[in-house]
Symmetry: C2
Subunit: 311 residues, 2 copies
């Protein structure tokens, strides 16, 4: 099977592609905005194409040439706070890019798309843990607004052009080869100055962290076993970890002491930050899958992996 992966130089794809290339012809696209060249170098079996997915003609030409059977659409802005500064950042990098991919799929006859969505779409929900059928969807970040826009374009394309989709609404995904995120941020800050740690928010933000290996297991299991036209699953763990815990565990793992934690003074880490996330994971469980690592285990393992990896 021919598989096209977007965001191919990013965090999740870098962990995914070694699995895909075993059985498939894999084409990857990235513009290195967040992705890294050294990550691409780890996957010599992948056919790599460097361009910006906003280039509609380029993506259509690639699809026309390759005619992929399935797309793993992982490309996105992963820094939610960007969307407050540049209000069209997610509109472009999320919504317009996803449209370009769907239209290229339609023109090339590609019928399957796996999409990385986010638990952020639920905004600040009245029901926690939040199930997949929660409504209304009133997100508080441009990032989440764009993820919903992508989901709904995908379902409309599925209906009208006989496509099929697997939408996974992620908790916070962590693991080796990060390009961003709180663990990455803390380790880099502490390597640069081991005496103090600037923290966004009051540290009480608490979310389910999923190790990327569990995330990929879950996506692959879901993609294989869920056979509706539109398949949509929360991909998370049942417990949560606070930012204060992550700070503490990172400091311990790096063998530091007497680190002054400087909290930003706000409750949210950034505008649009959902501080308390609880995702209902029963639907994936009913499909037959559950994660191996708890949130705490995923965070501790990632800290260990990243302390070793990050210069």
């Amino acid at each position: 099977m021919k598989i096209l992966v977007t965001g191919a130089a990013g965090f999740i794809a870098t962990n995914l592609i070694p699995r895909l290339v075993r059985d498939h012809e894999v084409h990857g696209v990235d513009n290195f905005f967040l992705g890294k060249r050294e990550f691409v170098a780890r996957s010599p079996a992948m056919h790599f194409h460097e361009f910006d997915l906003l280039d509609r003609e380029r993506i259509a030409a690639l699809f026309a040439e390759v005619k992929p059977d399935r797309v793993w659409h992982l490309a996105a802005n992963s820094d939610i706070s960007f969307g407050t500064t540049y209000t069209d950042f997610d509109l472009k990098g999320g919504t317009l890019v996803t449209y370009n991919i769907l239209e290229a799929m339609r023109l090339a006859g590609t019928k399957e798309i796996v999409f990385a969505s986010s638990g952020a779409i639920y905004g600040e929900p009245a029901v926690m843990p939040t199930p997949e059928d929660y409504g209304p969807l009133f997100p508080i970040s441009m990032y989440a607004a764009s993820k919903i826009a992508c989901e709904t374009m995908i379902t409309a394309f599925c209906h009208n052009y006989a496509m099929r989709t697997w939408i996974f609404r992620f908790g916070n995904i962590v693991g080796p080869f990060p390009t961003h995120g709180v663990i990455y941020d803390f380790i880099r800050k502490l390597k640069s100055d081991p005496t103090r740690l600037a923290m966004l928010g009051d540290g009480n933000q608490s979310k389910p962290y999923v190790h990327v290996e569990d995330c990929l297991d879950g996506m692959m299991f879901g993609q294989e076993h869920a056979r509706d036209e539109v398949n949509c699953y929360n991909l998370a763990v049942a417990d949560q970890t606070s930012v204060n815990e992550i700070a503490q565990w990172t400091i311990e793992a790096m063998g530091l002491a007497d680190v002054t934690i400087e909290r930003s003074g706000t409750k949210r880490g950034w505008p649009g930050d959902v501080t308390q996330v609880r995702l209902d994971t029963r639907k994936m469980k009913a499909l037959g899958w559950r994660p191996r690592m708890s949130s705490g285990e995923a965070v501790r393992r990632t800290i260990k992996e990243c302390v070793a990896q990050l210069a």
Copy 2:
């Protein structure tokens, strides 16, 4: 108060503006894609600006100059079937236009937006009548996907820039000064050929029709009485009318007989047509408002108004 109306030459605005200009300075924008020049001529008190809302600089300049206090955002593609032929039609005319307006509001300090959304966002829901908190939102048309994208950008802007919104998810709105829709379509076809009537779908599509006067009453009541940051209401009636009934009533009202109805042979009127719509209207009722006309009354009155009006 200064009010800016988008889609100012369209069906709903043409009925709305005579009400607004009594108490407010009203600015209208339209590009006459669907709107009509003769409709604008009916509202000499309105300050009219002709341009395309895709022109981000132009809309920002107008907002900077006028500094409106409130926006009634009514501009949209109202022909759902366009979205299947031109897959970026709603992305441009819905999603990108709405982003341009929100960004112009942010830059100009405009804090309030009334938005015309649609019951189509629920797709083909498992719950009917469908309440506002229904999920998941898996729409089947590009039109509905775009309406959701607009709603979610609006809620994200509200959260981050202290704006407030009133989102109304419409049933089918009917009334005088139409630019499109099944009644408009039937009357024009029958005036052109009184012996036959081509019908999209099998005629059993059944939806709640709301008279535009009720629609405007409801929007104005809701805008005045609902005071949350995000206020979202279905705006519909409790009963429904079928396309077959509309055809029959139109034929009768025009005094015709022996009209051959030519059904298109499909269940849906067009790809992405939701054939059965039932909207839960209890939230508006709890706010203290209910429509005066039933669906049947709204359709019959509209047929009478439009037969007289359409050449």
